[in-house]
């Protein structure tokens, strides 16, 4: 008999994330939902990013790599989530995003570009 399960809940944007995945390949939606379902029993399934980087903002934050079953290369998609323990009750697994790895890379690049241009702007204003 399974023990007490964790509650898996997603940010509202995840619905759009899954719709975008379905447009690529319906099997990605199958896999994403299977993995999110597995988190109900094992919320530590994903890689612990905090261990690697020791940054407060990603404490309890994890990522799962996944792809369609017949893909032979490195998995191209990620589920990013956070475990939020709640006192006296099974914790909440909060799904932040489900999508292509490329999306995270693009996000980091775009933010770096904005930060860089803002810093340049500040330097120009100072001089």
């Amino acid at each position: 008999m399974p023990g007490e399960r964790y509650s898996v809940r997603a940010e509202p944007e995840v619905t759009a994330d899954l719709r975008a995945l379905a447009a690529i390949d319906e099997r990605l939606v199958d896999r994403a939902i299977e993995l999110m379902s597995a988190l109900r029993d094992d919320p530590w399934l994903g890689e612990d990013l905090w261990k690697r980087y020791n940054m407060e903002s990603i404490e309890d934050c994890r990522k799962i790599r996944f792809d369609v079953p017949d893909w032979n290369g490195k998995p191209r998609y990620r589920i990013v989530y956070r475990n939020e323990p709640l006192d006296g009750a099974p914790g909440l697994v909060r799904i932040w995003s489900v999508g292509p790895r490329q999306q995270l890379i693009a996000y980091a690049r775009a933010t770096a570009r904005v930060t860089r241009s803002e810093a340049q702007g500040r330097r120009r204003r100072r001089s």
Binding site: S7, R9, E11, P12, Y53, K63, S97, I105, A108
Partner: protein, 133 residues
């Protein structure tokens, strides 16, 4: 500027292969044994694949490159190394993306009652069977 036959591709080729000696088919045929012996004796790879390359083709117009085996292997190893390095950098960029996402989400967390339960998500996508049990 007008490109002669082949257009920008030819120009790019000339840029890339600038400085590589060019042989006719006949010259290459006559030198093949000697080249094979000379290249086979090499023990130290060159810094670039083209350092010791020879371009061969009718009327010295190329089409074929002859390079020492040791240089080709070294070039492949450099490619592998660059690919590994690139993958490592992409991995770090990906994780940086997660850190930024985390900061954004933690600044304005969605109230738990506005989150979509997995069961509801599965229902929306007709995947209830995947979460049964």
């Amino acid at each position: 500027m007008a490109w002669s036959g082949g257009g920008p591709r030819v120009a790019k080729k000339h840029q890339r292969l600038g400085g590589v000696p060019s042989l006719t088919l006949d010259e290459a045929r006559k030198q093949l044994h000697e080249l094979s012996r000379r290249f086979g004796r090499l023990r130290k790879p060159s810094d670039s694949l083209l350092d010791r390359a020879l371009e061969v083709g009718p009327h010295r117009k190329g089409g074929l490159l002859i390079v020492p085996e040791i240089d080709a292997i070294a070039a492949l190893e450099r490619l592998d190394e660059a690919e590994r390095e690139n993958e490592g950098l992409l991995e770090e960029l990906e994780d940086l993306g997660v850190v930024l996402l985390a900061r954004e989400r933690l600044t304005q967390p969605t109230p738990a009652d506005r989150l979509v339960p997995l069961e509801e998500l599965a229902r929306q996508f007709g995947r209830e069977h995947l979460i049964a049990g």
